[in-house]
Symmetry: C2
Subunit: 190 residues, 2 copies
DNA sequence: GTCTATATAATGATAGAC
DNA sequence: GTCTATCATTATATAGAC
């Protein structure tokens, strides 16, 4: 057993514990609603340590959420199957409670004035610009932006608004329709 | 001139002033970030009056924002031109600072636990179910949900994330692409 | 490295005078 | 109908003891 009041000194472990708790909190409640006290309590440490390790709540968000805003996994396969892969992924993904879900964290934090700009920059540079380069062809930026708009809107309605028609049990009807639209944008490169 | 400290007693005018200020605040900052004091100050009245007239911040949101969550205007025309009308509307709309913008208010408030459920109910019943009935045909609920997902995601990226490729000056390239996708969902009724 | 205690500033809501 | 004054709560952040 460890000491009751003071933790064993372990900078790396403490840092990771805070980071993990922050990912859960930002995913579940968004930036504004997630509280430093809650994050510290769930990490099993004192509030003061969060600021010591990450400077501020914003600094914590920068490390916990911002780097994860990307769709690199979807760009690792072939362009001809992007629509199908993206549609299946977004139509079936479920949030594991102890993990960061970047899309949910983004959707729940997008209304916050504090992190709005960093979220914008991340989506613009790490998601859309990167996807545009991967797509190539004419109007790549616009096609990439429209693709991401579809994905973001779909996830918003499916998991935040809880629209029943988009639930996983209807994937057989939804996924093909959704995949086709996405793939049309990919293929519309002249 | 009216009295300096006390307003002329006018329940209807006071109520409207609060409502107008609330619409601006909820549009600009979302439910959580909008403050009762700010709303009261902008309406030129005392904070206590807000609670007197609307019971609570939630009650104010219920009157100021919830009923406006609909796309009735887009459903007043012909089904064959829905895609074009919706694409043009969403690709060019700009928020007039002294008005409610329902989509922005929704996007900026969606992360709030307090109003999440009422927003879900409103989008589900007032927007998607209504659009589904108007669309008709097979899988109407799913097609309606996918259409709204496109519109919501598009507005999110265009006006909240500020993606340059979706700005009004590129409407000539964006709108036709966007319109086609929307219309495909409308026409896919068998 | 970790904690306690506190500074400072907001918040939504309400009781009661006028 | 409108206001003042205040309650009770919460928030992030920090100084300093151990």
């Amino acid at each position: 057993m460890t000491a009751a009041k003071k933790r064993v000194r372990n900078a790396a472990a403490t840092r990771e514990a805070i980071l993990a708790a922050a990912k859960r909190a930002f995913t579940a409640k968004g930036f504004d609603a997630a509280g430093m006290r809650d994050i510290a309590a769930e990490a099993g440490i004192n509030v003061a340590l969060v600021n010591r390790y990450f400077g501020s709540k914003e600094g914590l968000f920068d490390e916990a959420v911002i780097p994860a805003l990307n769709i690199d996994d979807l760009m690792s396969g072939d362009r001809s199957t992007f629509g199908e892969r993206a549609a299946t992924y977004f139509a079936t993904k479920t949030h594991q409670g102890d993990d960061l879900d970047p899309t949910l964290a983004f959707l729940r934090s997008a209304g916050s004035a504090v992190v709005a700009e960093r979220l914008s920059d991340a989506v613009d540079q790490q998601v859309i610009a990167k996807l545009a380069r991967w797509l190539g062809g004419k109007d790549a930026e616009q096609r990439a932006a429209l693709i991401i708009a579809q994905l973001v809107g779909f996830d918003m309605l499916r998991r935040m608004v809880n629209i029943e028609a988009l639930a996983p049990q209807h994937i057989d009807a939804v996924a093909p329709r959704f995949a086709k639209v996405l793939q049309d944008y990919v293929d519309d490169a002249d």
